[in-house]
Amino acid sequence: MTTIDARGLSCPEPVIMTRKALKSKENRYTVLVDNVASRENVTRFAESQGFRVKLTEESGQYRLELSK
């Protein structure tokens, strides 16, 4: 499973990284972000690409688990 570490990056970079990673056509990805705007944007993008997103949070860091 590919992990995309977009912590410390602000939008649109995390979404661009996610889009690039999705080209490998896997069914599961993990995206790490650390701000709410990026969390929302990556989630919105992943859901628009047909992924379900599971969110877990730990002290201001977000792990988004994308699955088809």
């Binding site: 410390g8 990056l9 939008c11 929302e40 919105r44 379900r52």
Partner: protein, 375 residues
């Protein structure tokens, strides 16, 4: 290591509620458009209910950073936007002191974005407000703005990055909100060393009452924080992701400001005039209107947001955005000290040279941070 969150129960329908998001940003945009139009009724310059570039320029002048007497006033709208964002971010537990993502590059980008804005005579926000007042010169600005964003998106897609931010002490994130409180005190106390344009002396003398401007700023800052509204982000996201959320906010501002202006125009006159010549605080040089906004659009994409968004992110504790805001203010000071800013008469020779230098500098920053990554 990650704690599960209650919101997982919403997983089946998706975590993002698209229709709620769209309703929020359209409603927010409509409110902002009405406020922008009403601020002119309450005393702001024509077609300038809001202009982040102009207002930062006026503030820089009031602080004596430039000596252009017609444009000196500490604009409470700016204070309100920053503090509105801070207050809502604190309430929503989103205040997050961070920075360290190429702060001086961001300062320089802010500097040249301002040079571009003062060539055009307005930030992207005022570009919309000018269109809503019938000023068709703003269409030339919009064309340049669009092309500038397109250029920036090319670099984003090629891997442009100003690198990561890091968590910082709370004080670092509180610098701009604290500075805005100091500005508010200076505005209210009006000591002799603060410069204010004298009545009738230019746009700086035209302003709504302090509390009205401050309240308007607080509301707009809070809405922009909640919705992530960004004039650059709207067009950028369409090109990048076919994502239409932010542009809906942009469009909503245009529609509501236009309707408000038409109503005010019918009632009292002077709020809408369709055409190119004789528009308030604007010039008719199409090429340089376009080139100015090309520079602004390009620079803003590299910054990650328009001047309004920089104020809002600085309010949320992002000290990189604070660097960009100080860069914008420094750019405004230089623009007036060196005769770079346009006037109603048109652009200046110095200003044209500065915009060309700015485009070259911003392109160099884009190239260096895209093609020479050494992580």
């Amino acid at each position: 290591m990650y704690r599960k969150k209650a919101s997982e129960s919403a997983e089946e329908e998706g975590l993002v509620n698209r229709s709620k998001e769209m309703t929020q940003i359209i409603a927010g945009g409509l409110v902002i458009g009405v406020i922008a139009s009403l601020l002119v009724l309450f005393g702001n310059p024509s077609n300038m209910g809001f202009c982040i570039a102009c207002f930062l320029r006026d503030t820089a002048g009031a602080l004596g950073l430039h000596q252009a007497a017609p444009v000196q006033y500490i604009r409470p709208e700016i204070i309100g936007i920053v503090l509105g964002s801070t207050l809502l971010a604190l309430a929503g537990k989103e205040f997050s002191p961070r920075g360290g993502s190429s702060p001086m590059t961001r300062f320089i980008l802010g500097f040249f974005v301002m040079i571009g804005c003062l060539m055009f005579l307005g930030c992207p926000f005022r570009m919309i407000v000018r269109l809503a007042g019938g000023d068709l010169n703003a269409l030339f600005g919009f064309l340049g703005f669009f092309l500038g964003i397109l250029t920036g998106v090319f670099f984003l897609n090629s891997g442009y990055s100003l690198r990561r931010t890091y968590r910082l002490p709370a004080l670092e994130g509180a610098i701009l909100p604290a500075a805005e409180i100091v500005f508010l005190i200076l505005l209210a106390a009006a000591p002799a060393f603060i410069h204010f344009t004298e009545a009738g002396g230019g746009p700086g003398a035209k302003h709504a009452a302090l509390l009205i401007s401050l309240a308007a700023g607080l509301i707009v800052g809070a809405i922009a924080q909640k919705t992530r509204l960004c004039m650059v982000g709207g067009i950028r996201d369409i090109i990048l992701f076919r994502e239409y959320r932010l542009i809906c906010g942009f469009a909503a501002i245009l529609v509501s400001a236009l309707v408000c202006n038409l109503i005010l125009n019918a009632a009292v006159g002077g709020y809408f005039r369709l055409g190119l010549a004789g528009q308030p605080v604007a010039h008719t040089d199409g090429l340089w209107n376009a080139l100015g906004m090309y520079l602004a659009g390009f620079g803003c994409v590299l910054l990650g947001g328009c001047p309004l968004r920089q104020l809002v992110m600085a309010g949320e504790g992002n000290s990189d955005s604070t660097s960009a805001v100080f860069g914008l203010m420094a750019g405004a000071a230089f623009a007036h000290n060196f005769g770079l800013a346009s006037s109603g008469e048109g652009p200046t020779a110095n200003g044209k040279i500065a915009v060309i230098i700015g485009i070259a500098a911003v392109a160099a920053i884009a190239c260096i941070n895209t093609f020479r990554r050494e992580d």
